[in-house]
Symmetry: C2
Subunit: 253 residues, 2 copies
C-alpha cells in the first residue's frame, strides 16, 4: 500500500495537541478522519515527526499516512485540504515515500520558534500566538546565556516529568535569541527535543532577560540536572514547530 509524507500547518489553539485523546479534538483525529474519506472509510493511522502539545502551533510539521489506493500526491494534498475543513489544519505538501521511511525516526533535524511579545499592551492581533511579557527583556543577555546550552548534554533539568524518552541526552545545535521590534524571538534546532525542552529553556532564559539571574545561570541549571531549579515552562501558545529535516530532503508536491 502506498505511503505518503504530509507537510502540515496548523493553529494549535482549538486542539488538545497532536495526539488523539479522549478529552477533546486533536490534530491527529482531524487528519485521520479526513484521510478515511480517501481510504474507503477505513481510518488510517497518521503519525507525526513531533507530537506537539495542546496550544502549540505548526508551520512545518511532517506526518505520514498509508492509504489503500495509489493516488497522485497532489490529489492527496487537495483532498485532505477539502476534508479537514473547517478546522485550522492545512496540508501544504504531500509526497510518496518508501514504506521504511518514518516521519518521526527518519527526521534528522527539528526547528522550533518561540515568540514573546514584549510590550505593555496585551496582544490584539497576536493573541494566542505569543507569550506576553510586559517588563523589558534583555534579548542580548538571553542570547549569551543560550549559547551555554549548545552541544550534547543531559537535558534532565529542562525535561517534563511526563517525558517518555529513554535517554535525557540531546544535542542542541542552535538556540538564538533576537529582538525584532516589540518581539523577542527564540529559534531552537536539534535532531530531537525532550518533552517541554524548548518551553523550559525559554522560561529559564526569560529569568535572565528580566535581570533576575545572570547569563551564566541557565548553564548552571543544565549542569545541576534538577528540573525544580529551572525557570517556569513557557506557555504553549508562543511555540511553533517550523520545520523538520530529512536526508534526502522530501520533494513536496
Amino acid at each position: 500500500m502506498p505511503c505518503y509524507a504530509l507537510l502540515l500547518e496548523y493553529d494549535g489553539a482549538p486542539f488538545v495537541g497532536w495526539q488523539r485523546q479522549e478529552s477533546g479534538l486533536s490534530v491527529q483525529q482531524v487528519l485521520e478522519e479526513a484521510a478515511a474519506r480517501l481510504n474507503g472509510g477505513a481510518l488510517p493511522l497518521v503519525s507525526a515527526a513531533g507530537r506537539t502539545d495542546a496550544g502549540v502551533h505548526a508551520e512545518g510539521q511532517v506526518a505520514q499516512v498509508t492509504l489503500v489506493a495509489a493516488l497522485p500526491p497532489e490529489r492527496v494534498r487537495e483532498a485532505l485540504n477539502f476534508h479537514t475543513r473547517p478546522h485550522p489544519v492545512a496540508v501544504l505538501g504531500a509526497a510518496v515515500v518508501d514504506a521504511a521511511w518514518s516521519a518521526r525516526f527518519s527526521a534528522i533535524g527539528r526547528a522550533y520558534r518561540y515568540r514573546i511579545l514584549n510590550r505593555r499592551a496585551r496582544p490584539a492581533l497576536d493573541a494566542g500566538r505569543v507569550w506576553h511579557i510586559q517588563r523589558p527583556l534583555d534579548a542580548a543577555a538571553m542570547h549569551a546565556a543560550a549559547q551555554g546550552l549548545l552541544g550534547r548534554h543531559d537535558f534532565s533539568a529542562f525535561r517534563a516529568a511526563a517525558c517518555q524518552a529513554k535517554s535525557p541526552l540531546r544535542t542542541l545545535d542552535r538556540l538564538d535569541v533576537s529582538r525584532l521590534g516589540e518581539e523577542v524571538v527564540i529559534v531552537a534546532e536539534a535532531r530531537s527535543f525532550l518533552h517541554h525542552q524548548v518551553r523550559n529553556m525559554v522560561g529559564t532564559l526569560v529569568e535572565v532577560g528580566l535581570g533576575r539571574r545572570p547569563a551564566s545561570w541557565p548553564r548552571a541549571v543544565l549542569d545541576g540536572g534538577d528540573r525544580t531549579r529551572a525557570g517556569q515552562t513557557a506557555p504553549a501558545e508562543g511555540l511553533s514547530l517550523t520545520g523538520v529535516r530529512y536526508d534526502p530532503p522530501i520533494a513536496w508536491a
Copy 2:
C-alpha cells in the same frame, strides 16, 4: 478638558468596523465604553484617523478622546487596556494633545498593508488575515502596474459607491507590491484614501498578477474613471491600517 491621542491595534474580524452601527459591535463602541469608565460614566466620543471597514485590521490606527479629568497618558493607556478586555483591541500608546488637534484632519499620511496568501493550501494560521489566492501571481507585473497609479489623480474608478468624500482627487505616494515567500504584500501610502480605494486597487492589480490583463490596464482603468471597469473589491480581511503620520510626530507614552 484634556484631550488624548491613542495608538491602537485591533483584530477587525469580530467587529462591524470602526464606526458605531446598530447592526453589531464596533471598535469605536468598545473604546467609548472603556473610556466612560475613566470619565465618571459619561460616554465620550472616540474618533479615528481612518474609519476602517468591517473585518479590516489595524496595527497603527490613531484615535482621539476628551476626558473630564486630567490623567497621565500612561494611566489612560493602562486603564483602557484593562477595560477593553476581552475584546481584541489594544492601546499601544497615549499622548496629551492640543484641543485643536484632530486624529482625522491633522493626519498627513496613512499607510495600509494588504496581504495575499498565494499558495494551493488554504491558510490555517493566517485565516482571517489574508486573501487566499491559489493561482500563481506575478508580483513583479503587479508592482510595475501599480507604479502607473502613483501621483495626484481623480480616483473615481477605485471609489466605493458609498464614498462620502467631497472630492475624488487623491495623491498616491506609494504602492509597492512584493513577494515574500508564499505571500504577496501590497503597501499603500497617501495623505488620505477614498472609501475602498486600497481594496479596489488591490483587486485590479490581482487581475494583472493572474495574467488576465496587461500591466498597463490599471492605469487605463484610472484614466477611464469608471468603477465598473475595475477589478473586484479585495476582501477586507487582508487589509491592515499600519500607521498614521502627523507633523510634528506624536510622542507616545
